[in-house]
Every structure is written in structure tokens, then in C-alpha cells.
């Protein structure tokens, strides 16, 4: 019983982590950017969906789509207003651009977060769920919503996989992550690739945010922790390695669930962090890191 509970709950939460982290690592792998406004974008998407579905009466489906749309817009804004400007800036020396992008995206994230708190206050909000009710799996009464979340996460990840491995645009993205110059020399416009990646990223983050909003609920406070968890998962899995982050997401997800069930909900986050620290010391590249 307990075993199944842990198995099922861990699976759902991990799927959510995985989706969140995938976009984050994709962006890093292809554009080399660690986007610290990640959490804020997720929250923005969720809150947008909440407002659209509830306050403006668009209903759950349109609301969710609206939320994802907001995610994409914000992600593109992040690229055009901040990342691109910094990458092209001549005033900043190359080796310093990293810290500048990190600082700038952090500030940008705070702005988004504050804007949300200002417009919608910072109480937790839960997005109108698309599916309700519960089903019983292996004797575990599970919210349909939870299963729905896991499914959508995996659909999204699967879609990403197809995009990257089966479409030409996707291949270009993959190639760009390995060797941008090579891509240019083959007549593919890097700038186009980057825009595509940021759009895809926005969609992933948006979906993750909206699902989180339906499953657990979000508040503007969640932005920081969300970025942090994506960050740690991605590093655990190895920066830039999508499969790595998927594995890492499940390791972290189950570690947390196990701790919450077997030890105490209060210590939930700690084992994962310890593991992360250990990895940082023993194998800084992360589990599947290539760089």
C-alpha cells in the first residue's frame, strides 16, 4: 500500500520536475544560458491560467492555453530584451557575459514575480483543474488530476523528443547545441534556431507552470524555489543533458517523496540537496554531463 502510494505520488511529482527542468536544460544546452527567471515564468503562466480560467471565465481549457501562451511570450521577451542584448554587447568582455546574463535574468525574474504579487496579491492560487475526481490504482486513491499531470508532462517531453530527433528544425537545434559554428557553416541561421528554442522553452515552462498550478497550486513566492529546484535537478543530471535531467528529476522526486513519507514532510528537501552537494564534489559534471 505505502509502496504503491510512494510509487504513484513520486511518479507524478517527478514528471512535473522533469518537465520543468527539461526546458531549463534545453536552453542551457543550446544557447548556454542559465535562465534564472525560469521559476517566475512558470508562476506567471500558472497565475495567468488561473486568472483566465477563473476570473475572466474562459474555462479550464482556454485558461490553460492562455497560461502557456503567456509563458511563451515571457520567454521570448527574456531572450529579446535581455539575453540577446547582453550576448551582442561589446561593452562586456566575453568571460563576463555569464555573470551578467545570470544577474539580469535574476532581476527580470524578480520583476515578473513582483508584478504578479502586485496585480494578484501573493496568496497561493490553484488553477481550475481540467479533470476532477479520483481513481483508485493498486488500492491507492489517486486524484485524476495527478494522473493527468503526469500524462501531460510525458506527452510534452515526448513531443520535445520527436521535435528534436524527427524534424529538421529540431535536428538543427540539436546540432546547434553541439556546435553553433558548424550549423552556421551549413547555411542555417543561428538566430532563427535560438528564437525557436526560446519559444519551445517558453511552451515547456508554461505547461509545467500551469500543471503545477492545477496540481499543487502556486504563489509568487514559489518563483525562487522553482528556479532553484530546476537548477539543482539540471546540475545533478549534468548541464545541457536532457536525458540527464529526466533521470535526475526522478531521483530527486522519489527521494523527496520517500523522505516525506518515511521520515517527515519537514525534511523533504534535504536528502536531495545532500545528494547534490555530494555530486558537486565527486563528479561536478553531473550524472550525464558532457561539458
Amino acid at each position: 500500500m505505502l509502496f504503491w502510494q510512494i510509487l504513484i505520488d513520486g511518479f507524478a511529482i517527478s514528471a512535473l520536475y522533469a518537465l520543468g527542468a527539461t526546458g531549463f536544460t534545453l536552453i542551457f544546452g543550446v544557447t548556454g544560458v542559465l535562465n534564472l527567471s525560469h521559476g517566475a515564468i512558470m508562476v506567471a503562466a500558472a497565475v495567468a491560467a488561473w486568472a483566465a480560467a477563473g476570473n475572466w471565465g474562459l474555462g479550464p481549457y482556454l485558461g490553460a492555453m492562455f497560461g502557456v501562451g503567456v509563458g511563451v511570450l515571457l520567454s521570448l521577451a527574456t531572450y529579446f530584451l535581455i539575453v540577446q542584448r547582453l550576448q551582442r554587447s561589446r561593452a562586456i568582455r566575453e568571460e563576463e557575459k555569464e555573470i551578467f546574463i545570470l544577474t539580469a535574468t535574476l532581476l527580470w525574474g524578480i520583476m515578473i514575480q513582483e508584478a504578479i504579487a502586485y496585480l494578484f496579491t501573493n496568496n497561493a492560487k490553484t488553477v481550475l483543474p481540467i479533470v476532477e475526481g479520483v481513481v483508485t490504482i493498486a488500492g491507492v486513491r489517486t486524484p485524476a488530476n495527478e494522473i493527468f499531470t503526469a500524462c501531460v508532462c510525458w506527452l510534452a517531453i515526448g513531443a520535445l523528443w520527436l521535435f528534436v530527433n524527427r524534424t529538421r528544425a529540431g535536428k538543427a537545434v540539436l546540432a546547434a547545441s553541439m556546435n553553433p559554428k558548424g550549423v552556421t557553416l551549413l547555411g542555417i541561421e543561428l538566430s532563427a534556431v535560438y528564437v525557436a528554442v526560446w519559444a519551445v522553452y517558453g511552451a515547456l515552462a508554461g505547461i509545467a507552470g500551469v500543471l503545477l498550478g492545477m496540481f499543487l497550486g502556486v504563489s509568487s513566492y514559489s518563483a525562487g524555489p522553482l528556479t532553484a529546484s530546476a537548477f539543482s535537478i539540471v546540475v545533478l543530471g549534468g548541464l545541457g543533458s536532457v536525458s540527464g535531467s529526466l533521470i535526475a528529476a526522478y531521483i530527486v522526486g522519489y527521494l523527496e517523496t520517500l523522505t516525506a513519507y518515511l521520515i517527515s514532510p519537514a525534511y523533504r528537501a534535504i536528502p536531495a540537496l545532500l545528494l547534490l552537494v555530494a555530486v558537486m564534489y565527486v563528479r561536478p559534471r553531473g550524472l550525464l554531463g558532457r561539458r
Binding site: F28, L34, I82, R85, L86, S89, A91, I92, E95, E96, E98, I99, F100, L102, T103, A104, L106, L107, W108, I110, M111, E114, A115, A117, Y118, G224, A228, F231, S232, V235, L239, A266, Y267, A269, I270, L273, L274, L276, V277, M280, Y281, P284, R285
Partner: protein, 309 residues
């Protein structure tokens, strides 16, 4: 060389500024003083961070790890045994210096984002520890410290100002001294520095220790000013962001700029308080604007202006 340091504009300008600042209590309200007191401590945080980033070229996302260690160690010691405050502060400093060494270990092995990450994780760890060890640290509740250095606005203000001035002088002096030169060389290109016979590891480690020393000291002093320590004040990542933004805003690799930036941030935040929730938004917006448009930071802008004329 000393003569040159004294001649350099940033130094005598800041000397004048300090002189003026020290007279503020005579004609400024206690509230503004209280505000500046905090700002000055943040100034030290930012300067200590800039020593690591600007000179050792180590991007430390966990300044609050060092600050928090100092602050909480001092605070907890006081709330448990009430020894003389000076002892608590010493203990705080010791703790954060140890933390600095711990932080340095990975820094000397891993590069780039990985190190930045380790530091971030360090903060999360500390934060979780504080929450979990609630009975010791006050957890989410925050720790109320029985003693304060003084409840007199002016005294507190002068302590903070003096502390910032001294730290600034030392850090700036270091950055301009021969060791500072070596540190920069090590940060910029370890191979070349080693080829000149410098033990890069040794110098970077030293930088971490110095940075930790001042972070911890400032943290401990601030606890005994506020009379309370909470995760939200000393450890939370957003605090670290404020420290970093302060340094970048003021002009990285300048030490003094860091202090200016930090004070500016706090002052802005307060000046905009009437806007309520929007104040943070606007402060971040301004900071972002500076980062995007004047990467040199406030000092950079001034320099630019001077060279332009």
C-alpha cells in the same frame, strides 16, 4: 604606490563622502540613520563579494551562505549563553571563515556555472538547516537576540559607518596592493600566473578567507543591530541577489563601487516604499536597466562621463 593610491580620485572622493556621512546624525532623522545603518552593512557584503568576483574571478552566488553563518552563529551563541557580544561576533566570524574555506574547496576544482551552483546549493543547505534545527535557530520563526549593541540610532549609525569605512579601506587597499595584483593575475589566467611562480591555489584560498571574514563580521554586527535574525534577512537567496546586484550595479572590480551600489539599492528601496509592493519591482527594473545599458555600473558611468569630457 601608496602615494598614488591616495592621489587616485575614488579614494579622496570617498574620504570626503565618509566625512560628510559621519556628520549626518547631526541633522538627519533617526529613521534615515537606521536605514543607512543597514545599507552600510550591505555595502560591506557587496565589497566582500566583489573581492571574490572582481579579483579572484570566482562567481559566488552564495554570499548569504557566509553572511548567514556569521549572523546565526553569533545570534545563537548570544541567545543560548549571553556571553559578551564581542565573543559572539568573534564566533560568528570564525564560523563564516570556516565556511569560506569549505566553499573554496570546490571553487578550486570546478569552473564556471558549476562553482556558481555549488555556492547556491550551499545557501539552500544552510536555509534548510536553519528551518529544520528550529529549536536552535528559531527556524522559520526567526531568532530573537536578547542583546543589542546599542539602541541609540546615532551610535549604531556610527558603528556601521566606521565599520564600512575600515572594511572598505582594507579591501580596497588589498585590491590595489601587490597581493591584489597577484590575485587578479590568478583570476584572469591561472596558467600564466603559475608560470610566474605564483601559487594560485594559495592566493584564491586567501581571497575566500578574507571575503568570508568581512561577510561574517558584517553579518554578526547586523544581528546585534537588528536584535533579530531570520532567514529572510540574512540567508534567503534574494538577499544574496541584492548583494550581487549591489556590486554589479555600483561597478564590479572596483570594491568602492560595490558599497555605492548596495547603499543606492537600499536607499532606492526605501525612497520608493510609498509605492508599496511596487517598490521592489521598480528597484529591480532600475538595476536591470543599469546592467543592460551601463555594464560598467555607476562608477563606470562616472568614469565614462569623465573620459567623455
Amino acid at each position: 604606490m601608496l602615494a598614488r593610491i591616495l592621489k587616485s580620485p575614488p579614494v579622496w572622493i570617498s574620504l570626503i563622502v565618509v566625512a560628510v556621512a559621519s556628520t549626518l546624525p547631526l541633522y538627519v532623522s533617526g529613521y534615515v540613520l537606521g536605514l543607512l545603518t543597514i545599507a552600510y552593512y550591505f555595502g560591506v557584503f557587496s565589497m566582500a563579494w566583489d573581492l571574490l568576483f572582481g579579483f579572484a574571478n570566482e562567481v559566488n552566488f552564495g554570499p548569504t551562505f557566509l553572511i548567514g553563518l556569521g549572523a546565526y552563529t553569533a545570534g545563537i551563541l548570544d541567545s543560548l549563553y549571553q556571553p559578551p557580544i564581542i565573543l559572539c561576533i568573534a564566533a560568528g566570524v570564525a564560523a563564516s571563515v570556516t565556511g569560506g574555506v569549505v566553499l573554496a574547496l570546490p571553487a578550486l576544482r570546478v569552473r564556471g556555472p558549476y562553482f556558481g551552483l555549488t555556492t547556491l546549493v550551499a545557501v539552500l543547505m544552510l536555509q534548510n538547516f536553519v528551518v529544520v534545527a528550529a529549536e536552535l535557530t528559531g527556524g522559520e520563526i526567526g531568532l530573537t537576540v536578547p542583546d543589542v549593541i546599542s539602541i541609540n540610532d546615532r551610535t549604531n549609525y556610527w558603528i556601521a559607518l566606521g565599520f564600512m569605512t575600515v572594511s572598505g579601506a582594507i579591501l580596497y587597499g588589498l585590491s590595489r596592493s601587490p597581493v591584489g595584483l597577484i590575485l587578479q593575475a590568478s583570476g584572469q589566467d591561472a596558467v600564466q600566473a603559475a608560470a610566474l611562480g605564483f601559487n594560485v591555489t594559495k592566493h584564491k584560498l586567501a581571497a575566500f578567507i578574507v571575503s568570508a571574514f568581512f561577510s561574517g563580521l558584517a553579518g554578526a554586527l547586523m544581528v546585534f543591530y537588528l536584535g533579530a535574525a531570520s532567514v529572510g534577512t540574512f540567508i534567503d537567496v534574494t538577499v544574496g541577489v541584492q548583494v550581487i546586484v549591489g556590486a554589479v550595479l555600483g561597478g564590479r572590480r572596483t570594491i568602492l563601487g560595490a558599497a555605492i551600489g548596495a547603499v543606492f539599492l537600499i536607499a532606492m528601496g526605501e525612497a520608493l516604499r510609498p509605492l508599496g509592493d511596487l517598490s521592489t519591482f521598480i528597484v529591480s527594473a532600475i538595476a536591470l536597466f543599469v546592467v543592460l545599458v551601463f555594464p560598467g555600473g555607476l562608477l563606470g558611468m562616472l568614469k565614462g562621463a569623465r573620459e567623455a569630457t
